[in-house]
């Protein structure tokens, strides 16, 4: 881009020594195990109790999501900074959930007039 740039580029260090430094898991195995977990999710939804379904489904979603994150997105090989970044996002959501919970779930709406 900048042809007039002087010698000794500041951002030379930004270019990684190796373009691909992370490992490559066997993607097919990950893919198949995702499918198996997915099948479990679908069958779990046949349980009549919605709360149980919710918990099972949510836990499996977390497992699946983290599998995609770790292997497909190669988070496993990324430096700790990325983990911190994602951790902060999750922390944000945790605070939000805790703050919202008492004011959404346990409140029964009181309506002045009939809708």
């Amino acid at each position: 881009m900048n042809t007039n740039q002087p010698e000794g580029l500041a951002h030379e260090i930004a270019v990684p020594k190796k373009e691909d430094y992370h490992g490559h898991p066997n993607y097919l195995i990950i893919y198949i195990s995702l499918l198996i977990l997915f099948a479990i999710t679908v069958f779990a939804s046949l349980i009549p109790n919605p709360l149980v379904v919710f918990i099972i489904v949510f836990v499996i979603s977390i497992v699946k999501g983290s599998m995609v994150l770790l292997y497909f997105m190669h988070l496993k090989w990324e430096p700790v900074l990325i983990w911190i970044l994602l951790g902060l996002a999750l922390m944000t959501l945790l605070f939000l959930t805790l703050g919202l919970y008492p004011d959404i779930v346990s409140v029964k709406p009181y309506l002045v007039t009939k809708p």
Binding site: N4, P6, E7, A10, H11, T92, L100, D103, I104
Partner: protein, 582 residues
């Protein structure tokens, strides 16, 4: 056909590439430039426009409050509807466009690349795009004043049942077009665009800081302000997420007839309050941190002494940034949230005062034993610390203590408190930065005499404007009331006088900013040329290049050997030691 395409290609080649040392026309400099300094300047000019609008609004409603019978010069008679519109848009513009824009976008764009010793942002085109988004948001915001039903009048917090409707004008909406072309929609769109602009900007700052630092510049050798802007950007990025979702939902409520905030449809207006303040409180720290960085630079340089406890300040800032996400409900103590939750939030609110006390004490400790140079930027910086700590910070304790907040919430006490926190940080901080970096930015000097006049007028009349509001608030004056004459207890003897003192001071405060504006633009064209590239004898990298810096910032890329605050090093003859000097 072929010719036009070539023309277009030439246009792109000439205007959208970075490869240039030659002179450029107006469009290039103010619209298409990819240089971070030009983009910073574009942001600055855009924000000046927004601030003048916000300041004008403040003038109009302050005049109306003190002299309710009078026709306000330049505006006319203020009706209740006008009044609501004026206060709302004053708040929105000052919080969203001035405070966030000036401190994240301008300071970040101008300072980050040059202070870490690189040529430009990591993604110059993304940077440009973020400015265009910002410009779109400004255009949307300004056009919202001219909607058929008037400007947005639902308070800058935009609490839903009111902001979904028409603020009580009792006009029936008949069609989608009718609903879409309302101030509500436009303001929400404007805010969403601005958030996206700042998100892109924030990612850019973050990547630039991590990946493009000069050789030898480790994380702890970065100037404080680079840290502060980055922490602020990341904090902004996370806290704003849920609000973007919430704003999208509010837009649907207005335009598509959904019921996310409609109690009759299972929604809850309190949800918006939570989302808004979940962003709104971290935003206060997003605004506060960059000025703290600016102040750190100025105080350390002008005390000729290392910044006291660099890592200590840094750790406290990180703690404060995380804590700031857990305190949002102190804006809602009496808004109908669970009172037990309020206790928890009260505790966190009080705790968050501790890291900031530590930071301020470290700044004061920097002054001690220093070889103080009391020049203009230093005056602004010390003024900012003094007002922010003594009045802004300490009055926060009243409001953080949930019991007194029952009384003070939504009164002028709160208004005074947040003007005392935001004005010293945002305005004093920005002015400190302007007076400090103007020589670098333009290659010319600001007039010192008028600078001093500007400082003292601003300092005195800011206090004259904001302090009476405390007394008014304690007397029970509630906010956002167009006409206090109908409340007898608010018309008892000294109170109208306080209101008039506040108004007259506010008007002088606004007028004295013209001194700065004239000084700024006059000096930009005609000011005395700077005699030295490093007039303050500072260590950081931006002072080690030409003024104004050339395209690409440095003739030779610097290599960093020292921390940014090595003043009065005992082994050196000079009292400063530039970062790139061996």
């Amino acid at each position: 056909m072929k010719i036009t395409r070539n023309k277009w290609q030439n246009f792109i080649k000439n205007n959208l590439t970075m490869n240039t040392h030659k002179k450029h026309g107006f469009w290039h400099r103010y619209f298409f430039s990819l240089d971070h300094k030009d983009i910073g300047f574009q942001y600055m000019l855009t924000i000046f426009v927004m601030v003048s609008i916000g300041g004008f609004f403040a003038y109009v409603f302050r005049m109306h409050l003190a002299y309710p019978e009078m026709e306000v010069p330049l505006f006319g008679l203020v009706t209740n509807k006008d009044y609501n519109m004026l206060i709302t848009n004053h708040g929105l513009i000052m919080m969203m466009w001035l405070a966030l824009g000036m401190l994240l976008a301008v300071a970040g764009n101008y300072l980050i690349p040059i202070m870490i010793g690189t040529d430009d942002m990591a993604f110059p085109k993304l940077n440009k795009l973020s400015y265009w988004f910002f410009l779109i948001s400004v255009i949307l915001m300004i056009s919202s004043f001219f909607m058929k039903r008037g400007g947005f009048g639902g308070g800058w917090t935009m609490y839903p049942p009111l902001s979904v409707g028409d603020f009580g004008y009792n006009t029936a909406y008949t069609s989608f077009k009718d609903r879409f072309f309302t101030a509500n929609t436009f303001v929400l769109l404007a805010i969403t665009f601005e958030f996206i602009a700042l998100l892109m900007g924030g990612i850019n700052f973050f990547v630039t800081t991590l990946n493009k630092r000069a050789k030898g510049m480790t994380l702890t050798k970065m100037p404080m302000i680079v840290w502060m802007i980055n922490i602020a950007s990341v904090l902004f990025m996370f806290s704003v997420g849920p609000l973007i979702a919430g704003a999208f939902m509010l837009l649907l409520d207005i335009n598509a007839g959904t019921g996310f905030y409609d109690v009759y449809r299972g929604g809850d207006p309190l949800l918006w309050e939570h989302l808004f303040w979940f962003f709104g409180h971290p935003e206060v720290y997003v605004i506060l941190l960059p000025p703290l960085g600016i102040i750190a630079e100025i105080i350390s340089t002008n005390s000729r002494k290392p910044l006291y406890g660099y890592k200590f300040i840094l750790n406290l800032t990180l703690i404060a940034a995380i804590l700031s996400m857990m305190v949002w409900a102190h804006h809602q103590f009496v808004s109908g949230i669970d009172p037990r939750a309020a206790t928890i939030f009260s505790i966190f609110t009080i705790i968050i005062s501790l890291p900031f006390a530590g930071i301020i004490l470290a700044y004061i400790a920097t002054l001690w034993n220093g070889d103080l140079k009391i020049n203009l930027p230093m005056k602004w910086a010390i003024g900012a610390i003094t007002l922010f700590t003594l009045i802004g910070g300490f009055t926060g304790l009243y409001l953080g203590a949930s019991v007194f907040d029952i009384y003070a919430h939504d009164t002028s006490f709160v208004v005074a408190h947040f003007h005392y926190t935001l004005f010293p940080t945002v305005i004093f901080g920005s002015f400190a930065a302007f007076y400090y970096w103007f020589g670098k930015f333009s290659g010319r000097e600001l007039n010192k005499f008028w600078g001093n006049v500007h400082f003292w007028l601003t300092f005195i009349f800011f206090n004259g404007f904001a302090f009476p509001l405390f007394l008014l608030g304690l007397a029970g004056q509630h906010r956002r009331i167009a006409d206090y004459r109908q409340f007898e207890f608010l018309m008892q003897d000294p109170l109208p006088l306080y209101r008039q003192i506040a108004t007259i001071s506010a008007v002088i405060l606004i007028l004295s900013q013209f001194i700065f504006i004239f000084n700024f633009f006059w000096s930009l064209k005609r000011g005395k040329k700077v005699t030295s590239d490093n007039p303050w004898e500072s260590n950081t990298l931006e002072w080690q290049t030409a003024s104004p810096p050339p395209h690409g910032n440095f003739a030779v890329y610097p290599e960093v050997h020292h921390g940014p605050y090595e003043y009065n090093h005992p082994d050196r003859e000079d009292d400063f030691l530039p970062q790139n000097k061996k």
